[in-house]
Structure formats: structure tokens, C-alpha cells
């Protein structure tokens, strides 16, 4: 079994510095690639920066991206405390979107706050259920890394089946549910075009921080992570805690999918997620699995993705370059942080 991995890297300030340098290096490589491909780097860069918060719509898109990434990352970081690796965020997120879409389509008669809160709750429940199954299987001894990964694809194909069959919009040609009711859409901050999704992400980050630092459950999770046998000896029911943390984790990811659906895409299609769940895994570790670090990393990568969209529009640089920079940044930051920890250990 794959157990007992290091949590975070210690020493927050220097870490943030190392992570920043690594990220800048990744962006520099990206800039070099863009330059080598014959585009004007200055134009591309200014389009990228403009795309982050140039106007309200762009700022909204930055925050929307950050919301789903932060929630997907929190879904990874919480079970890591107990030594559990949930790489099923993608599937839990898709199930969350399914739950939100299912409810969001049927809440026509209800007033707005009730409608979107119900849809969000449905997303959390659906995601939680998708986390519970691997959690239960883990309590039987089945490796959660494998089962959560497999459940991503089971969710994906199950959803494709539903949205091209019984849940497909009547007049649709391609698989898709059709847009949810307007009352189920996430509202904007008063007087702006920016939706409140980010509030959900920050709220959940605070809740996760509270659970980890201030509750008995958080202590138990850490105990399990450090020594499963010790925790059992201390009278903690491993089965129950494992299932509970997996349900919570799935629900957090599910909320991410629901927020993305109710604020950005409004409809569930087979193109819903470009891999939010997997990005969440990397962001959880770049944020050193601390909720605060995750919020920062999520905002950064949310901004990068939003900026890249604008860069494609304005400077004609294909947007997938942002995913390439993200991959490089993940690798570089991973290198910088782990190498620091390794060298320090050796002294």
C-alpha cells in the first residue's frame, strides 16, 4: 500500500519564494516557446495580463476558474491528512455537475436563492456519494488510488450515457442536458457581472482549515495519517473516519463541479471538464496541501487559464499553450519544493 507521504514542506515564506521562482521559470519557458513559434511575446503577454482582469467578464472568468480549481484541490488535501490519496476528484466533480444539472433543470417554480442552493446541495450530495463508494471499498482494503481513478472514467461514461439518452435535451443534436433554469444560476455580486462562486470556494477553504486545525476529527485524521495502527490503538474507528473523509472530499469536489455548472457552463455536456480534477491534484501539492496555499495557487492558475483564452483571441496564440505552461509550472514547483526539503534534510 502507498502510505505515509510527507505533508507540505515546512517553512511557508521561503517556500512561497521557491514556488514563485519556479513558476516564473515555467512562464519564461512558455514565453520562449511562444516567441519561437513566431508570435510577438509582448503582444501575447499584454493580452494575457489583460485577460486576467481587463474587464468584469474576464475577472469573472479568472474567479470561476479559480473556484473549481480550489475546490478540486481541497478535495485532495483533506484526505491526504489521513494518508489517503483521492485522485477521483474528476469523477466526483462530474457527478456534482450531474446532480446540480438534474436539480437545476427542475426547479423552475422556486425563487432564486432556494433554487441554486438546492442545486448546489444536490451537487455536493452526488459528489459525496461518488467519494463514499471508494471510501467504503478502502475500508475493505482496496487501494483508493486505483479505485478513485477508475471511478473517474465510470462517472464519465455513465454521464455520457445519461446526457445522450434519458437526460438529453429534447431538441439537442449532441450529448447535453440543455441549460438549467435561470433561478438555479449562481447570482452575481450586487451591481457587478461577477458571480459569487469564489465565495463558496473561500468558505469551504475556511471550513477545511477549521476541520484540520480545530476539531477532533481533524486530529484523528492526522493521527491516522501518521500511524494507522496507533490510531486504531487509540480507539479510533478507521473504517468510519475513512468513509467520512472520503464523503467530505467527494462533496467538496462535487460542489466545484456544481459551481462550474451553475455559473459558467449552465449545461452538462460531454466536454464539461478539461481535467479540473487532475489539475486539482497538482494544485493541492503546489499549495503544500494547506488551504491558504491552495487558494493562492488556485487563483494563480485560474488567472493563467483566463489570460490564455484572451491571448488566443487577441494575439492568436493557441490557448493550449497555457496547459503546457501549467504542466511545466507543476513540474518546476514540485522540483523546487521537494529539492529544498531534500537538501535541508541532508544538512
Amino acid at each position: 500500500m502507498i502510505r505515509r507521504r510527507r505533508l507540505g514542506f515546512g517553512g511557508a515564506g521561503a517556500e512561497l519564494g521557491a514556488a514563485t521562482i519556479a513558476t516564473v521559470a515555467a512562464v519564461a519557458v512558455g514565453a520562449a516557446v511562444i516567441a519561437a513559434s513566431g508570435h510577438n511575446v509582448i503582444d501575447a503577454a499584454s493580452a494575457l495580463v489583460n485577460g486576467v482582469a481587463g474587464d468584469q467578464t474576464q475577472f469573472r472568468s479568472t474567479l470561476d476558474n479559480a473556484t473549481v480549481l480550489i475546490l478540486a484541490a481541497l478535495a485532495v488535501s483533506l484526505p491526504v491528512r489521513a494518508g489517503l490519496f483521492n485522485i477521483g476528484g474528476e469523477g466526483q466533480l462530474l457527478m456534482g455537475a450531474l446532480g446540480a444539472a438534474f436539480v437545476g433543470l427542475k426547479v423552475g417554480g422556486l425563487p432564486a436563492p432556494v433554487a441554486f442552493l438546492l442545486a448546489l446541495a444536490a451537487g455536493a450530495v452526488a459528489g459525496g456519494l461518488w467519494g463514499l463508494i471508494p471510501g467504503y471499498l478502502r475500508s475493505l482494503g482496496a487501494n483508493e488510488i486505483i479505485t478513485t481513478l477508475m471511478f473517474n472514467f465510470i462517472a464519465l461514461w455513465g454521464i455520457v450515457w445519461l446526457i445522450s439518452g434519458s437526460l438529453q435535451a429534447p431538441d439537442a443534436v449532441s450529448p447535453g442536458t440543455g441549460p438549467v433554469q435561470v433561478s438555479a444560476e449562481l447570482p452575481n455580486f450586487p451591481g457587478t457581472f461577477v458571480d459569487v462562486g469564489i465565495v463558496i470556494a473561500l468558505l469551504i477553504a475556511a471550513v477545511v482549515l477549521f476541520i484540520e486545525r480545530r476539531t477532533v476529527f481533524g486530529l484523528e485524521l492526522r493521527l491516522i495519517g501518521q500511524s494507522a495502527d496507533g490510531a486504531r490503538f487509540a480507539g479510533i474507528s478507521l473504517r468510519r473516519k475513512i468513509m467520512l473523509v472520503m464523503v467530505l472530499s467527494g462533496a467538496i469536489a462535487g460542489l466545484g463541479g456544481a459551481a462550474q455548472l451553475l455559473a459558467v457552463q449552465y449545461e452538462l455536456t460531454d466536454q464539461f471538464s478539461p481535467g479540473f480534477g487532475y489539475l486539482g491534484i497538482a494544485i493541492a501539492f503546489l499549495g503544500a496541501t494547506s488551504p491558504l496555499g491552495i487558494v493562492l495557487a488556485g487563483l494563480f492558475f485560474g488567472a493563467l487559464t483566463a489570460g490564455a483564452t484572451n491571448m488566443e483571441l487577441v494575439a492568436q496564440v493557441p490557448a493550449p499553450v497555457s496547459a503546457m505552461i501549467e504542466g511545466l509550472a507543476f513540474a518546476f514547483v514540485l522540483f523546487a519544493l521537494t529539492n529544498r526539503a531534500r537538501l535541508r534534510e541532508r544538512v
Binding site: F85, F153, G275, R342
Partner: protein
């Protein structure tokens, strides 16, 4: 309907579809046995598929394409090795980085270099003289592309190396008890790097089989989950090469059957078949709890003990000289 299950076309297509799964599964098998988990098979193969198509396109030679695919996969996994073996970073996060970066990078480069989706030179089928004339088997088994024949031989070769040679003992020991391996004077990191490069070669061939054998060009995200199916095959085959090959062939067959069945009937939704490899893998994982052969040190970095041992021998301060 029954015809679809057993037609020679279904089997022939199944072998073609199984080839990348099989090659990548073999690569992942040896790498995991040596303790290095690579969740980035998908990204590795995608890079190889792109490099294969690009090299084949530029040079006009399939062989150059295959070499390009293998070399690119090796570069990707060398980076994975640097991160996870030398530095000791988390293997899953590194794998995710590979998948994200490779999807972005290949899509970006393909839109620039292969924008009009050119047809590139690809491997022809090779009809085994004589054997390809056998009524049923000839079409199903002996009219394949060279990489498929290779893929069918590799599992047996790996089985021999892993279970009948000293090298195999070392590889498996490095994945189970790296500390014990080092204590008898063998360099754990050297073995892990070598195995990772061999794995990269196999995954590179798998990527090449997608873009310059089974198809003649690169398509964005053309792996479409093949890497994850290969990962499932490794678990399904319980980390043993020949059962993994069986799993890969089974998954290829299911995929091929799904396409054939879709033409004649829609009694079973094709999404069910597409999800089937993952479903059966979960079932197998649950059923085989405590009997699995997952390497003990899988996904755990190994830090050579050499330095620490020497330090411990050194007399501490204040001790009489």
C-alpha cells in the same frame, strides 16, 4: 449479432486497438515493479504519438517516426525520473504534470506545425507469408502491422527477464525492498532509471502505434484514455506481464466489439462497454484484496543510505579521540 462477437474483423480490429494498450501496459508493468508509478502514461504516449507523426511527416520515413516517438517518450520519463527518483518528489503529482503539460504542449504544437492535419507515412500491414492465407486466423491474426506482432512477443520476453534472470530479481527487489537491494551493493537509482527508460521505449512504441501505424497522422488528444486503460490493465493483470497482456487484449476486444455491435444493435449502450475496463478493474481490486502483488515500495522515493551510514560511523564531538 452473434456474428459481431466472433467475426474475424472484430478480432483483427481488436488486436490493433490492443497494441498501444499492450505496449504501454508492459512499460508501466516494469516501471511499477521497480517501484516507479507513472500516472502520466497518457501524456507520455501523447507526446510520442505527436513526435512520431511529426518526425514521420518531416522525414517521410516511418522508421524515423518510430525513433522520434521513442526518444521523445524517453525524454518525458527522464524528467519524471529526475523528479521522482533523484529528487524524491511525489510520483502522482509528477504524473499529473506530465498529462497536463503533454496535452497542452502537443495540442499547441500540432496547431502550429500540423495545422492542416496532413497524412503522414505510416506502417503498412505485414501479411505473414502463408499464415495469412489461413481462412479465419489469417485475417484476424496474421495481417497486422509490425508493432502488433512486436507487442505480442514483448510480454513473453518480459516474463523471461523478470522471472528467469538475475536482472529480473533485481528489478522486482528494487520495487519491493530497495533498502535490501542497496545493502548488497546494487545502485537502486541506476536500476530505476534504466527500467524507466525501457518503459519509456515501450510507451513510445505504443504512442507510435497510434499515430503512425493504426492511424496516419496526429489528432489532438488522440490517446483518449488509452494510457489510463493501460494503467487499469496493469492492476487487472496483478502486476504480472502475461496476465496484463491478456487484460490488454480483452480491453482491446471489448472496444472493438463495442464498435461492431453499435452497427447491428443498440440493446446495450456502447458507453457500458467503454466503462467496462474500469468496472472490471475495480471488481478485481476489491476481490483480490490481500492477494494483490502490488510492489511494496510502489510510489515511494528511495533515498540512498550511503551518506547517512558514513556519518553515523564518524565519532561525535566530545568523544575521546
Amino acid at each position: 449479432v452473434l456474428h459481431a462477437f466472433f467475426s474475424s474483423t472484430t478480432f483483427a480490429v481488436a488486436l490493433g486497438l490492443a497494441t498501444p494498450i499492450l505496449l504501454a501496459g508492459m512499460g508501466e508493468c516494469i516501471s511499477e515493479l521497480a517501484g516507479v508509478l507513472n500516472i502520466g502514461i497518457e501524456g507520455t504516449m501523447l507526446t510520442a504519438a505527436f513526435a512520431g507523426a511529426a518526425c514521420s511527416y518531416v522525414s517521410g520515413s516511418v522508421l524515423v517516426g518510430v525513433v522520434g516517438a521513442v526518444v521523445s517518450a524517453m525524454l518525458v520519463l527522464l524528467a519524471h525520473g529526475l523528479l521522482t527518483i533523484t529528487v524524491g518528489a511525489d510520483q502522482i503529482v509528477s504524473g499529473v504534470a506530465i498529462n497536463v503539460g503533454a496535452l497542452g504542449g502537443t495540442t499547441f504544437l500540432a496547431r502550429l506545425l500540423l495545422a492542416d492535419q496532413p497524412q503522414v507515412p505510416r506502417m503498412d500491414t505485414f501479411e505473414v507469408p502463408g499464415l495469412s492465407q489461413i481462412p479465419f486466423l489469417g485475417k484476424a491474426l496474421f495481417s497486422q502491422r509490425p508493432l502488433t506482432y512486436l507487442a505480442l512477443v514483448v510480454p513473453f520476453a518480459l516474463w523471461f527477464v523478470l522471472y528467469k534472470s538475475q536482472l529480473g530479481v533485481r528489478i522486482r527487489a528494487v520495487g519491493d525492498e530497495p533498502g535490501a537491494v542497496e545493502s548488497v551493493g546494487i545502485n537502486v537509482h541506476l536500476i530505476r532509471y534504466s527500467v524507466l527508460l525501457a518503459a519509456a521505449g515501450l510507451m513510445g512504441l505504443g504512442g507510435a502505434s497510434l499515430s503512425i501505424a493504426e492511424f496516419n497522422g496526429f489528432v489532438e488528444n488522440m490517446t483518449g484514455g488509452v494510457g489510463f486503460i493501460a494503467l487499469a490493465a496493469v492492476v487487472f493483470g496483478n502486476w504480472r506481464p502475461i496476465p496484463i497482456a491478456g487484460a490488454a487484449l480483452l480491453f482491446g476486444y471489448v472496444e472493438s466489439l463495442q464498435a461492431e455491435l453499435q452497427i447491428v444493435t443498440n440493446a446495450v449502450p456502447n458507453e457500458f462497454f467503454l466503462a467496462l475496463p474500469y468496472l472490471v478493474t475495480v471488481v478485481v481490486v476489491v476481490a483480490a484484496v490481500r492477494r494483490d502483488r502490488m510492489p511494496t515500495a510502489l510510489a515511494r522515493a528511495y533515498r540512498p543510505r550511503g551518506i547517512r551510514l558514513r556519518r553515523r560511523v564518524r565519532p561525535t564531538q566530545g568523544e575521546p579521540a
